[in-house]
Point group: C2
């Protein structure tokens, strides 16, 4: 009487069907997944990469139409993908033409949000070389993210090798103009076919890419923020410090609410103290003068489990420690409140406020709506970005585009 369901068809409809490991779902703990996590299974093997090139290369979107955030629908010709199963480990990597994923409707990503991702960029330098910016940081963070939701960890160096090959293959999509780059989106999803809640017995790691233009094509435009007090993005003991899909969908409505009232982004506060944490999907930095000593201080919230460990955040802190401390600045990872900001603004001590992230690098803030008033963030009338904000952007871009040789920049082998 019993008829087993046919083996799940491969994730890619254009490639031959691959039988994935059968996996016994259980609402309790899966011994199999535990074994997989502790025994030695095949790691990612870049030498096993197969490349199937597209036969219908896309035409490039004209540069002036590559406005960041608006052209994320422009996708390159190919994608990189790797399947993983608890029984077999990492299967051989493949670069194929960009194509749809074919997934069983019972796949756990659709029900339980088994998804983690990264945002990183490839740049083209003056010599025409393709460069990745601090890719080890992204791989380390992704490994932390996937481990937190019981998805498989992986060899970051092997993955960088594969991403490099992918970026090199699609390098014609990368403009060598300053401000242009290729946005890379490494994504890992749980593909286990079960309605039971448990550790995924299979996963898919894929990387897609979209050519992007400058975030501020006509120069900086300072943004206005609305402090959000009715919703909380992250909390101690939660997962707000991981780059999980789970942290993003719940952020949209507060963002829409802020936009409805004319603000560009919402600012996430935490607790009765109203600690300032993050802005929209960026880290936040504040430059102010000390009330007593007048010393200049660059402040960002500490990595206490509620803050995303931004690569741009880290880069700003390193550069600031290297170049601003000798100028007398204090660089602080510490908690600060909306009240602190407000009183600094009142005293004229608030110098600059800016968001920091891979997309914009830095995003200058004009003011913050809080408790029915607008806290002015220190920009002069007509000024769209502060001196420090501009400086930091230049410093980071110099390393991203290889104008300044530095080990943050990883040159993709030809």
């Amino acid at each position: 009487m019993l008829r087993q369901l046919r083996p799940r068809s491969s994730l890619f409809k254009q490639s031959p069907s691959r039988l994935l490991a059968s996996y016994e779902p259980s609402r309790l703990y899966s011994i199999k997944a535990e074994a997989a996590a502790t025994t030695k299974l095949p790691e990612i093997d870049p030498s096993a990469l197969t490349i199937t090139k597209t036969t219908t290369p896309k035409e490039l979107v004209p540069q002036n139409e590559l406005v960041f955030g608006r052209t994320f629908t422009a996708i390159t010709d190919h994608m990189l993908s790797l399947e993983w199963t608890a029984a077999e480990g990492w299967l051989p990597p493949r670069i194929t033409p960009y194509q749809n994923l074919s997934l069983d409707p019972a796949s756990c990503v659709f029900h339980y949000a088994f998804t983690a991702f990264e945002g990183m960029k490839a740049y083209k330098d003056a010599k025409g070389q393709v460069r990745l910016f601090r890719p080890t940081k992204n791989m380390a963070r992704l490994n932390k993210s996937v481990a937190r939701i019981a998805l498989p960890t992986f060899d970051g160096a092997a993955m960088i090798e594969l991403i490099s090959k992918f970026a090199a293959l699609d390098e014609r999509f990368i403009s060598d103009q300053k401000g242009y780059s290729l946005y890379l989106r490494p994504t890992m999803i749980g593909t286990q076919r079960t309605l039971g809640v448990g550790p995924p017995g299979s996963a898919l790691f894929y990387v897609i890419a979209s050519p992007v233009g400058p975030y501020y094509p006509t120069g900086f435009k300072a943004i206005s923020l609305e402090a959000t007090d009715y919703a909380v993005r992250a909390w101690p003991g939660g997962v707000g410090d991981k780059k999980l899909g789970a942290n993003y969908a719940p952020c949209i409505v507060p963002q829409m609410e802020a936009a409805k009232r004319g603000f560009h982004q919402n600012l996430w506060l935490f607790g009765e103290e109203e600690y300032v944490t993050e802005v929209g999907t960026m880290n936040l930095f504040v430059a102010m003068k000390n009330k007593e000593t007048g010393q200049k201080e660059l402040i960002t919230a500490p990595l206490d489990g509620t803050i995303l460990e931004g690569v741009t955040r880290d880069s700003i802190l390193e550069l600031a420690r290297e170049r601003l401390v000798p100028e007398g600045w204090l660089i602080s990872e510490r908690k600060y409140t909306m009240g602190d900001l407000d009183s600094a603004a009142k005293d004229g001590r608030l110098m600059e406020v800016f968001g920091a992230g891979t997309a914009a690098i830095v995003a200058p803030v004009r003011n913050i709506s809080w408790k029915g008033k607008l806290v002015d963030c220190g920009l002069k009338p007509g000024e769209e970005a502060g001196e420090l904000t501009l400086k930091l952007k230049d410093w980071i871009e110099a390393r991203q585009y290889g104008d300044e040789e530095h080990d943050w920049s990883y040159v993709v082998p030809k």
Copy 2:
């Protein structure tokens, strides 16, 4: 030079391509989505349902192999699905053979966890009629869930009509034996193709079904819990009260940790006070005697934003208020701590503890590991379920299977 990407292919590879509304992604607020949310777009229209029956019906899994949680890979012949776009509203519903979804790798469900779902069951009564249990509750909750992540809300009554047709079509998968049912999984995912973080301009609502057997095929088996103090499931101002995918993936590792130490599920505590909130993916109920008066009290945590609004939880509360209050019980939705449980256990006042959810209805708890000791939950040696737990299960099942006629049970039209 500009070449638009080809229109996204239909979600279903076996059906003709359907051009979805073009939607301009933006990292800021989408005026289009706003318009869609406020203007009148087509609602779900059950009369437009098309049914394509499978030509390869599956053989039924033998009843004795339908162990709950183990046979979630057994799926019925068909699926119900509806597409939605911000420009067109709800497109005509379709019942098709069960099949893979074909989705662009840039679909927002894969990156930002735009997913919400329900768990509900269809039962077969003594007359062979198919019945749904309180389906309006599930639809109301799903509408709250999807609204919280900017997915489209829908007409719950229309959806129940469609789910009924789907359950009726696949009714041969529903055993008329007590304890057996058809687990239904309504799921809504964001299908917007963009890497920008914003409200989805398109979504897919689908319902799949899996025949399930009794949770405790050989009678109740009391479970052991481990109190989790290092991870926090939900937070005031967060989304822990919504049935979002985002709430599930982060729960797996704490569950695996508990299992490693021999416990069946983890128990989520909250705050320094160690308030008891939920167990694994169930609500928790505690029966204890009042320290001063000796009055019996049935307690569950209140819906303060950190607790899932369980349909079984609500059913238990209603039945308890109707049938236990006359016997002198106090029925309480109130906060209580692990310390309260422990002191009741020490005094011999702790009568019963049980989880409550759609899967198990009730799940008796033997003990809870907390601060290095085992808190005994009142079962006698050899006893696997308390008197009240057994009673509640019978009361609820009587209404689920239509043995007791009640408006909680919705008879599916033939």
